[in-house]
């Protein structure tokens, strides 16, 4: 309801305004030539002065400012580029130094390793020789011992068997006959016992 009244009041008031305007209207002031000459005169005067001041004083200054800023920025960019190149060169140098020192370190390490390996090899050879010698001596001893073993065993066998016979029979037994038997046995079975 309120809305309706609101819009109706707007609508009707348009008529009143139109009448008010119609009563006062007197055409376009633009078409009244009374001040045309004055306007042309002042337009030429003001525009002319403005054009002269702008073109002779202000615009060259602005273009100068823009140019100088442009050239300065270009210079700065060039300087920055140069500095970048310098730093690149220095970085390369640094990289070279690092790689060289790495190579040096590697070679030193290799040398040290070779030396150490040589030392170790020499010492090992000496030790090997010693060990071989000792092994050879020990083998010799073992061989000698092994050669003596059947004789000793035969001796022990002869003595024990003679003593045994003495205790069993109670009479002295000729050692030479026993030793002949033992010799004969050992010759027959020696291989089986000693594994030669």
């Amino acid at each position: 309801m309120f809305k309706k009244i609101y819009f109706q009041s707007i609508f009707f008031s348009f008529f009143f305004i139109k009448e008010a305007f119609a009563a006062e209207s007197g055409g376009m002031p633009q078409l009244n030539p009374e001040f045309w000459v004055s306007q042309i005169f002042w337009l030429i005067l003001t525009f002319g002065i403005m054009y002269l001041v702008l073109s002779k004083l202000i615009l060259p200054k602005i273009s100068n400012n823009l140019e100088s800023r442009k050239s300065q920025i270009l210079e700065n960019i060039e300087a920055a580029e140069k500095q970048r190149e310098d730093s690149d060169a220095k970085l390369k140098e640094y990289d070279e130094i690092i790689s060289q020192s790495k190579l040096e370190a590697n070679s030193i390490f290799n040398q040290a390793r070779e030396k150490a390996l040589k030392d170790i090899g020499a010492k090992r050879e000496i030790l090997d020789k010693q060990i071989d010698n000792e092994i050879a001596e020990a083998e010799k001893e073992i061989d000698a011992l092994r050669k003596n073993v059947p004789d000793k065993i035969n001796k022990i066998a002869i003595e024990t068997s003679s003593e045994l016979l003495q205790k069993l029979i109670g009479a002295e037994v000729n050692n030479s006959s026993i030793s002949a038997i033992v010799e004969d046995l050992s010759k027959r079975n020696g291989d089986k016992y000693y594994g030669n």
Partner: protein, 244 residues
């Protein structure tokens, strides 16, 4: 101010009547606003060009942005040959822009809403461009009216149309600016009048229209100055680089 929406365009004398011969060159409100816009342009661009710092301050940035804006507009439309006319087109653009913008302040007078002002500017541009065209190309400039690639039968008609369109340039240029300014300001005045007469009850609707129209008019004020300048560049381009 009266309720008549056209009364804002009234020109009236300020101070005494000045007469040179039969001509009345009295100082009027139109003269006042021409001087005001000239002074504001010179003030802003003088302040904007005084110091040359690498990092420009606000007013310097404004001046330099306007400079590059206009110079780009000219080089885009008329090429590098139009460089000698840069200062004129720059002044023209700034003058029209400032007159339009000052007119957007309430109770001010819009210089460019008068047909005589825009017509003088347009006629000066028209005559200047024609003179430049004849100086650069001699009578070859008349080839402008004979477009290439037109069948011979149609040629008389086309030439007549081209001549008419060429001659109507100053009229279309001046009327476009004047009519836009006048229509916009009249409309704002009418809606402003509605706000008062409808009062507290119904005034809100035209008031909101008024607010929207103000934004639109500021856009139009800039756009018309831009159009005025860019059409000048296009005419200049015709005179400098004869393509036909």
């Amino acid at each position: 101010m009266a309720a008549n929406p056209m009364s804002q365009f009234d020109v009236y004398r300020i101070g005494p009547e000045i007469k040179v011969g039969a001509f009345d060159i009295s100082f009027t409100n139109a003269s006042l606003f021409m001087i005001l816009s000239t002074i504001s342009i010179l003030l802003i661009f003088n302040l904007g060009s005084k110091k040359n710092s690498i990092l420009p301050n606000k007013i310097q940035l404004l001046a330099e942005l306007s400079y590059t804006f206009v110079s780009k507009m000219i080089s885009d439309t008329a090429g590098s040959k139009a460089k000698p006319y840069f200062a004129f087109i720059f002044s023209l653009f700034m003058f029209v822009l400032f007159c339009n913008m000052l007119g957007m302040i309430p109770y001010t007078f819009t210089v460019t809403s008068h047909i005589i002002v825009t017509f003088v500017l347009a006629a000066f541009i028209f005559i200047g461009v024609t003179v430049i065209g004849f100086i650069k190309h001699g009578f070859g400039y008349l080839k402008l009216f004979v477009p290439s690639g037109v069948p011979a039968v149609l040629l008389p008609l086309i030439v007549v149309i081209e001549i008419i369109s060429y001659l109507s340039r100053p009229i279309s240029l001046s009327v476009r600016l004047f009519a836009n300014m006048m229509a916009g300001h009249t409309m704002m005045k009418v809606f402003g009048g509605f706000v008062i007469s409808l009062g507290i009850v119904g005034g809100w609707l035209p008031l909101s229209f008024s607010v929207a129209l103000t934004g639109l008019e500021i856009l139009v004020a800039f756009l018309q100055a831009y159009v005025f300048a860019i059409l000048t560049c296009i005419y200049l381009n015709d005179a400098l680089n004869l393509h036909h």
